[in-house]
Amino acid sequence: MKTHDLTALLEAMFHRSKEMILFVDQKGEIIHLNAQAEKTLDLSDYDRDQFVNICGHCLGMADGDDPDCTNCFLMSREKMTFQVYLRTRSGEKAAYIANFQQIDPKNHISVFTLNPLSELMKQQEFEHQKLLTQRIIQAQEDERKRISRDLHDGVTQELLNVLLEMRLYKYSTDRTELDRKIKDSEETLSHLLDYVRNISVELRPASLDDLGIEAALRTHFKWMQRQYGILVDFRTNLNKKRYRAEVETVVYRVIQEAVFNAVKYSGIDEIMVNLQESASHSGMQLYLEIKDEGAGFLMEDGPRGSGLGLFGMHERINSVDGVLNINSEPGVGTKVEGYIPVEERVL
């Protein structure tokens, strides 16, 4: 067992390993790097005789989002495992699973090892993306089909009716009868106007752009009551305040989706929605809460629908640097909470 010298073995491991191994000091300067690292990293811009810095290669840590340097691993004394992006020799940005550990506290030397994100994970991600894309496309098609049907069955048919009615006007010799026919057409047209307005509001309410989140939500909740008989207890301190258009859209759509989910799955007549602006440690934030005391579900269970709704809510909230929490318990109910950092927009 002990016939081999540990130093020789370690050296062999360092030079031959297929993972990148680098020794760096606390400023990130590279003291040693192994052959694999040398082969992979882009060293073209550096003078090979000088110490080069790891920051010249590193594009930042990433936790599913865009890479950034706010919590740089160089500051850490504990062992860390994380995902990081590096610039490679071929000039591309590549993801690695990294380990970082201080091995010489006196001289502040750490070992930094890097493995490419495994092919398996890439493949999984790819498959997942593909499935997701398929579902999104399907949902888009379904939505188009619905709108198309609404337009065809509702609008086109009714317009055709009015057109036929109007063509018959000229054969009417009796003035009273003509008046009645005109009144009928008028009625049909006014229904039609309502109908088109409904379609348009459902697609995107103009009040969201013109009047803001509060007004748009109040209109939407009134519509929910008429359409589904659901009561929404809406509380807010927004008081006509306006925010960036992206934020307003996200808040509106996330609340809309959460309320729809409650209507579909909770089996309950009343839903509570709370939307508050408050101070947070880093400025102002919007807090949104959608709560029902209905059926609830097991968090670990798969989605009842396509799963795109929840995915969409998370994606939307992420896009404005917010966070979303969902809690549910069978027999108790469901609570969706979100926080979004905001600045008030002065109009």
């Binding site: 619905r146 509702g154 048919q157 008989g229 659901i230 007549d269 629908g305």
Partner: protein, 152 residues
Amino acid sequence: MNRTVKDELQELKEKYGFDIGALTEMNNARGTFKWKYVLGSDSQRWKRMELRKGSGLTGVVLKTGKSLVVQDVLKIYSQEELFRLPILYFEKIRGFIAMPIWNNEEAVAGLVVFGDKQPRTISEEEYAAIKVDVEARLRPEFLKEVMLYENT
């Protein structure tokens, strides 16, 4: 004892063994109207729902003036489509018959729905029998209540 439209609805629902018996108000010129009774429902939602002449289940029956018979909604509607037909979605109706009720001026005045929470085969004979009963028993009471309502 005076028979009401509700009694008739209840009796027809039982006679043909349906879980749900639903009847609309008189469809007036204002464009929207509501459910008057949804017998067999255990929620209050239907009381607040507004029905439109041009859309949903009521829209189809009112516009065409024809009955709609569906053995199993899950075979023809997706969940999303079903959600747009709230009375079917919330009352968990799988098989149903929806029938227009005509007034004396030959216009559709209302709509009656008998639904089951299971898929249900409704034969030609059964359909014909229900139609006769709706015409002979439900329709006169429905129109009577409408007249009473309009005179008060």
